[in-house]
Symmetry: C2
Amino acid sequence: MSEVENPEQRILQAAKQIFYEKGFAGARMQEISEAAQVNKAMLHYYFRSKQQLFDRILKEALDLVIPRLMKHMGSDDPLEEKVKKIVAAYTELLTELPHLPLFILHVLQTDAHDFFQRMILGSNYEFQPALMKFLMQYQQEAAAGKVKSMDPRHILINLVSMSVFPFMMKSFLVEILGLSENDFEEFVGQRRDIVPQFLMDGLRP
Amino acid sequence: MSEVENPEQRILQAAKQIFYEKGFAGARMQEISEAAQVNKAMLHYYFRSKQQLFDRILKEALDLVIPRLMKHMGSDDPLEEKVKKIVAAYTELLTELPHLPLFILHVLQTDAHDFFQRMILGSNYEFQPALMKFLMQYQQEAAAGKVKSMDPRHILINLVSMSVFPFMMKSFLVEILGLSENDFEEFVGQRRDIVPQFLMDGLRP
DNA sequence: AACGGGATTAACCAAATGGTTAGTTTAGTA
DNA sequence: TACTAAACTAACCATTTGGTTAATCCCGTT
């Protein structure tokens, strides 16, 4: 991998890869330092502790991910358009960073409440507002007879589930359906169209 | 927790809980032994090593889970009936064992190929056959004009995603939607009906 | 050339970790 | 009761782990 950047960047890059793959408990400072081609003491010199290095990686992930998704979630697009864009955004994101969902869910499992306090509410993402806007919008379009009337929280969950979970099952699908790397990319590529269409079909009033 | 059973059972029970919550790397033999109210050496006496204890927990999970799900997947029920039963089975299973998906996905991430060799193909679950039967069945019902014609693998993924992922997002949903424990149970209870209905609606020819 | 501060290293440290062992207790049996 | 094998314990061990430190290197400034 790239050896050009300065040590601090190399550490961050190595830490990201290893924390993503192995989680906090499974990652080793020694392994990170080797991947970054840096003396182990450098990790502490720049980031003080394993926990703080991890927090930094987590924060960078959230800074990247949340705005990218919430931009579409909170837009003024009509529902169908919006759904398409959200699914596409998830697909692109997770094609780049396939380990991200498991990484975040792992944090969530060890820390849930604290995680929200520090990382979400503490920062100034437009997180809850964007979600609420989506839920409201659905109810409006339902009132206007454009979609079936139902609890919009389930729509949101269905949308996110169908967008994210296939990436988490990647190794499963590859093994059980006998897919190659290319097959899988094609498969999730198809879902970029299939999921929005399927969603809207299921929501006809 | 129960203190009645014999030490071996107590160890298995404690190990299950701790491995489920923290994964292999995050679990500590000392912690397991304390939870089981047993000397740490007993863990090695009964199970030789951390890895073998972990493998045992994993095997028990698969022995419980796979038949329970594949029974419905491979049955002779018509599609709509089958979908309902599968979603219900997932809901019941994951209400009992909410940490199970993350646990298995974590194993999959560290080990995917080896996992399949040893745990799936090595054992005699009716795994692949049941999945293939589901896929075939869809194509037949599509040919008979009962459902929309499309790649049935996507149906399967949608079904599993919408059934499993909400449980993985539990702490997320609880925080962001402000749900209590009861609210969440009610929420996933609703999905037992909503998901099958939503799926079939989206599959009308 | 001498200075000085940040960057870097090798060596080190204490605690934790998975695992072992030698010895003791317990319970069934001849 | 004496014997034995399994169950169990405390103490121990080697290695790994996150983290520290003292010394050195590097490089721009005076």
